[in-house]
């Protein structure tokens, strides 16, 4: 082990950056799952029959209350053993991460729905609007306005948890650092520094933008 070396950092950078691109790809896939599945769960919580709502709620509770790392490892080994060993770590990891965060985004959506005054539902009833129309034209727009910022914050949190997928061999940044350092017996400090800076560079502007969005939504006419 020797000290920090600028040359080594420069040499490692392209590799770690490659891992960073993978992180972004995972984030994109998991993000879509977290956004859409969370929405589906929140809506079904209000509309689905009891026999469907109950188990979905149960599963979401379970997902929220167990560690992501355990879920990732469990699903990775379980799917390769019992379902399809061909599924890649990228696919399985992104799916688990997305579902995990859907359990959180669904709560933010749910809070957004519950914050809508009862009078909105009553006015919709008084006008006999069809149920799908009530959701599309009245509830969803008002709910999205209330929960967009919260969901964006979950996505930032999710982005920062992508390295968990290192555990099942997704070639994100930690894996890249590990690969380099394993061959060269050094470079951990430089590699993790680069990884940290790349995370910061990506998530800080997004966090600022989210904050701006929050302010803008609070001020808008609707």
């Amino acid at each position: 082990m020797d000290g920090w070396s600028n040359e080594r950092a420069a040499e490692m950078f392209p590799m770690v950056f490659e891992g960073f691109v993978v992180v972004l790809q995972v984030t994109a896939v998991s993000g879509v799952i977290a956004i859409l599945l969370g929405l589906l769960v929140a809506i079904s919580d209000q509309t689905a029959p009891f026999w469907l709502r109950r188990p979905v709620n149960w599963i979401m509770q379970f997902v929220r209350n167990t560690p992501l790392l355990v879920q990732v490892l469990f699903v990775w080994y379980a799917t390769s053993l019992y379902i399809n060993p061909e599924w890649t770590a990228f696919v399985v990891g992104s799916a688990v991460l997305g579902i995990h965060y859907a359990s959180y985004t669904s709560e933010s959506y749910r809070a957004g729905i519950e914050a809508i005054p009862k009078g909105q539902w009553e006015a919709a009833t008084a006008l006999s609007l069809p149920r799908h129309r009530v959701w599309l034209a009245i509830i969803l727009p008002q709910m999205l306005r209330r929960s967009t910022a919260a969901v964006a914050n979950w996505l930032i949190a999710m982005f920062k948890e992508v390295p968990t997928l290192f555990a099942i061999g997704v070639l994100e940044m930690l894996a890249m650092v590990d690969r380099y350092a394993g061959l060269n017996y050094t470079g951990y400090v430089e590699g993790y520094t680069i990884a940290g800076l790349l995370f910061l560079a990506a998530s800080y502007p997004v966090a600022v933008a989210t904050r701006r969005l929050e302010i803008r939504l609070a001020k808008s006419n609707f």
Binding site: P117, G119, Q120, E122, A123, T125, A126, L127, S128, L129, P130, R133, A137, I138, P141, Q142, R145, N221, F222
Partner: protein, 270 residues
């Protein structure tokens, strides 16, 4: 004002009960309302007035009574069971599909306006015309423009509700309810949430509508002057029963019941 050709009440409460938990807010309530009548419901808060409007809007449901064919507990509208439906010649509690169909002829204006904040004024008035009554967009917009002119808001068509004053919002809500061509209009304390200086405009619009249409109106209000001008009957409620009913002139100038006298004294002293 009741139309001379019709001898059937447009609304009939037949021994209607309504419980909230252990509390019975309406007790075997019976009354008839003729087409075109304007009836004001007065009484202390908790006397069941608003519950009556909410039952008619199907926002609440009557407390079921065993054997409704004999024992009542049923609301009738336009000669057909409303809280219940006929099935195999017998009355059963109405399901959601039945209610959806029946309530289209009933409109409601709420104390808190309840405009849709994500829609501009015009769309607030066209939305249900297009999606409930299946009118074309052009037809709905033409109707909405007419009604918004009637309520004096032609210049606010493209505004969002929260850019309007409470009085303006309430007038949009009135236009929105009228756009559905209701036979029955329910007005639930429509000026109670307004600043005093905004009340007059809303009442003027409602007076205008009362004069120019034959819509049956049920009005819950604390505006006794308005009640006197607009209604042809006033029903005084207390603890879920009708204490007294009469023409507004008689009930306001010569109430017979002590509870009515006490209530009017309290309200008019405000």
């Amino acid at each position: 004002m009741p139309s001379p050709t019709s001898n059937e009440p447009i609304i009939r409460f037949d021994r209607v009960n309504k419980d909230f938990g252990d509390l019975r807010v309406l007790k075997e309530l019976c009354f008839d309302i003729d087409p075109g009548e304007r009836v004001t419901l007065i009484g202390p808060s908790g006397s069941g007035k608003t519950t009556i409007l909410r039952l008619l809007m199907t926002l609440e449901h009557v407390t079921p009574v065993k054997h409704p064919d004999e024992n009542g507990g049923v609301i009738w509208v336009e000669g057909e069971p409303y809280s219940h439906m006929k099935k195999g010649g017998k009355l059963h509690v109405a399901n959601e599909r039945y209610l959806r169909r029946r309530r289209q002829k009933v409109g409601m204006v709420f104390q808190q306006f309840n405009l849709f904040p994500n829609m501009r004024v015009l769309r607030n008035v066209t939305e249900a015309q297009v999606h409930t009554l299946r009118r074309s967009k052009d037809e709905a917009e033409a109707k909405a423009r007419d009604l918004l002119e009637l309520v004096g808001l032609s210049d606010k068509i493209d505004n969002y509700p929260n850019q309007l004053s409470g009085g303006q919002q309430q007038r949009v809500a009135i236009a929105r309810a009228l756009a559905m061509d209701p036979d029955i209009l329910l007005l639930d304390e429509v000026t109670s949430a307004l600043d005093p200086e905004l009340v007059a405009d809303v009442l003027a619009v409602l007076r205008d509508i009362a004069e120019t249409t034959s819509i049956t109106m049920l009005i819950v209000t604390h505006e006794m002057g308005f009640a006197r001008d607009v209604s042809n009957r006033v029903m005084m409620f207390d603890q879920g029963v009708i204490v007294e009913e009469d023409t507004p002139d008689r009930i306001f100038s010569d109430p017979q019941e002590v509870r009515t006298q006490d209530f009017l004294r309290a309200v008019l002293a405000e």
